[in-house]
Amino acid sequence: MEKENNKGLKKGTLKSFDPKKAILIFVVLVLIVPFYESKRILIWATQRTNQKGDLFNSLLVSYVKGAERMKAQLGLDTFFEKEHYFWLDLKKSPVIFEKNIVPPPPLDVKDGESIDGKVVTTSEENEPDASFAGENNTSSLTASEPAKKMVRSKASYRILIIGDSFMAIGGGVGNPLERDLLNYKDLDVYRCGRVSSGLSRPDYFNWNLKVQELISQYSPNIAIVMFGSNDAQAITTPKGKVVVGYGSVGTEKWNKEYGKRVRNLLNLFKENNITVFWIGLPMMKKKDFSKKIENINSIYKKEIEKYDNAYFIPTWHLLTDKQGNYTAYLPDKNGKMRLARASDGVHLTYFAGNLVAKEVISKMEEVFKLEAK
């Protein structure tokens, strides 16, 4: 046996290393790092329901749940929570990640002036939980508070596109929609999509706060919204407290809470005179999941009907076959069968995205006088 120094190296060489020490390093790492990052892992892991059944994912979740309990017992949970939010805040900090050299888009109002008689503030004073506290407490955008920063495009139609992976960059609907809208005159588009987000899990991404921020930044008068594909799960508060558990998806309690979330968002748009075009979700490949999505669509439809500034655009039958079943292929205008759905049976290809975009724009043309370039 060759002699080794205290670093596991063979004497006289820096090249060869004892595997036992490598194992020790990895074992300690695999205990320390997930322990430290337990909060974040818990958010990640429970987001990805498709990982269920993965042995290592289950192991990880069990371990970090234990780590969270241990932190609480040791009284370290406050420290770790503060530390978690410190990094989140740092990433959002104006110095590092959100600073604009020039405010977007071109200004036609000065700071302190009002837009259409409505004074807009940013959402800094908001308590994270406040946006879900009640239906009437959806927004900090009030008529009496002084404006901190306002930006408004000169265009008549200032369109905000928001949503989950369908609307995010690279998503099947957002890109064709934004591209097609730009073919119209007197119109500006701002898109904000977030993968894996929705209205159920504001602890992961708080859309109410984000929408308030976007309204104060871009003062849109039209919003195109698409959510729901990640929402068939537990509903939480922004701080991660479970309001309705995963097992209750589709029950009256779940529907009621989810409906409240939808109303909160719609109220926010209503208060700011924004016309909403809410895109419904298409049929999904997995039948169980599809049922849940159908339920979510019905909640959207029911809630949207209560608002005169909101329109629901169903896509269910747009993307099914003639018999109303799920199909991965749809005919194009020449009758050629084109791939319409991604391999996950959830997302859309650009071909299907184009169909949805056309549907949305056609609905918008009924409401507004959009003029092609």
Partner: protein, 483 residues
């Protein structure tokens, strides 16, 4: 399971323990490696396992038939194996492209035909393991290597999880010998491997992900909504995104394999510091470009059949690389741009050789040194600009999108637009990081070599936690998983 995830780290730690623990029983050790790799692959989609097992089995037996030359028909065995591999690749990767093309062709000829609509999912890593399989049979056919006698070893070669999904494209001759007699007994270059894992994670999670999420994804999605200046910035930023994404993955693959006692070939060598396009392809995705050189360019005649044929072969090789990435016109155009660029480079280098003036001449005079430095700088600069603009065709989803991008870039209708300061910072950071990458790597190795075990663990933990903290909340998939 993606490399920079906790699930993978748990999986890998378990594999690491059993890998070194089972080496005294080589058969069990190899069975374990195969099982672990199949498990890893099944976490993507268990149906993919069947395809990889069929491909492995077919190519293993083809190799034996080629080597033993039954009935003197080794050429037929070899061609059959290549055709089989290409059919598998064609069905899973190019079926829809061929279906639509044939339907269109028949329609023009006056026939109405519709081929079956197969809802095909591209098995992740397919293009990579098909290339490994083809190279194996080609090497057996040409006599470079002997046919693998152990079906177990060959199956491991096809599916070994560190390089399974996105390379490097390892040659059988380099890998199979590492499985003999329980493989390596100790970890060679431990600190280099560890540094590769840490740096690879940082490159992907921090540098590439942020650049993609905050600039390039947005700009490339709808270029007409952005100014020429932003488009230009996005072009250069995408060069960094794809480099850090892919080289980050490759670094981690080499590092993880190294921890298990396997040596994998390097895939990148500071490609944006290439003096010319020929140099670039010797530094970018090296295992793919060497594969194409050895199994397409040279068999076609390489540069041995006259100048015109050489350029034609170069173009064919680059078109093959383009098509390998996907059956879309924009990939083919990207390959063609590189083909033309390489043709011009070879022509100019040929002229230089004729005039007997080396590209870089060693001289002692100050002005000569300066002149050489300027030459080197200009060479790198022009190559980088060329490669970056070619990436536009690679990155855009369709040819039409790419043309819109180029048109908007040069329209200058909207020259400036509001820009987030941190985006500029990220691009500058990316460039500096790229330039200093080798030095950072050396510094990491240097620091780790001098730390005692507890401090080493502390150092690695801090590095990993900081990388995760700085990384975005979501982990975008690796670009090359799509190929």
């Amino acid at each position: 399971m993606l490399f920079p995830t906790f699930e993978f780290f748990i999986f890998f730690t378990l594999v690491l323990i059993l890998n070194w623990g089972l080496k005294r029983w080589p058969l069990i050790w190899r069975l374990f490696l195969l099982g672990a790799s199949y498990y890893f692959y099944s976490t993507w989609n268990s149906n993919f396992l069947l395809i990889i097992i069929i491909v492995s089995a077919f190519n293993f037996f083809s190799g034996i038939l080629i080597r033993r030359d039954y009935f003197g028909k080794r050429k037929i065995y070899f061609i059959s194996s290549v055709i089989f591999d290409l059919i598998i690749l064609g069905i899973f990767k190019y079926y829809d492209f061929f279906r639509l093309s044939f339907e269109e062709l028949l329609r023009k000829a006056g026939f109405i035909a519709s081929f079956p609509l197969l809802e095909i999912i591209l098995p992740v890593g397919l293009s990579f393991y098909i290339f490994r399989a083809i190279s194996y049979n080609a090497d057996v056919y040409s006599g470079k290597i002997d046919a693998c006698k152990s079906i177990l070893d060959f199956f491991i070669y096809v599916v070994f999880f560190p390089y399974l999904l996105a390379g490097p494209i390892v040659r059988a001759g380099d890998f199979l010998s590492q499985l003999k007699e329980g493989g390596a007994k100790r970890i060679e270059n431990f600190y280099e491997n560890l540094s590769l894992i840490l740096l690879g994670m940082f490159k992907k999670l921090v540098v590439s992900s942020y650049l993609a999420l905050s600039l390039t994804d947005d700009v490339f999605a709808v270029p007409q909504n952005h100014s020429s200046l932003i488009l230009l910035l996005a072009v250069f930023a995408y060069s960094l995104v794809i480099y850090f994404d892919f080289s980050g993955y490759s670094d981690m693959a080499v590092g993880f394999a190294g921890m298990l006692g396997f040596r994998l070939p390097v895939n990148f060598d500071l490609p944006y510091l290439s003096l010319n396009l020929r140099d670039f392809w010797r530094r970018w995705h090296m295992t793919l470009s060497y594969w194409v050189r050895d199994y397409i360019y040279i068999p076609l005649g390489g540069n041995r059949k006259g100048q015109l044929r050489k350029y034609l072969n170069l173009m064919t090789a680059m078109l093959a690389i383009g098509f390998w990435h996907g059956a879309n016109l924009h990939f083919v155009v990207w390959g063609a741009i590189h083909g033309i660029g390489l043709g011009i480079t070879h022509f100019l280098l040929g002229l230089k050789n004729k005039t007997k003036t080396p590209f870089i001449k060693i001289s002692n005079s100050f002005f000569d040194k300066m002149k050489e430095k300027v030459k080197v700088f200009m060479g790198c600069f022009i190559t980088f600009i060329f490669v970056s603009f070619a990436w536009v065709f690679f990155r855009c989803r369709t040819m039409n999108d790419a043309l819109v991008f180029v048109k908007t870039l040069f329209s200058f209708e909207k020259i400036v637009e509001p820009l987030k300061l941190y985006v500029v910072f990220l691009v500058i950071f990316g460039i500096v990081f790229f330039l200093l990458e080798k030095k950072i790597m050396k510094a990491l190795v240097f620091a780790q070599e001098r730390l005692s075990l507890p401090f080493l663990i502390l150092f690695i933990s801090c590095f990993m936690i900081l990388t995760l903290k700085l990384g975005p909340d979501i982990l975008p998939s690796f670009i090359y998983f799509g190929f």
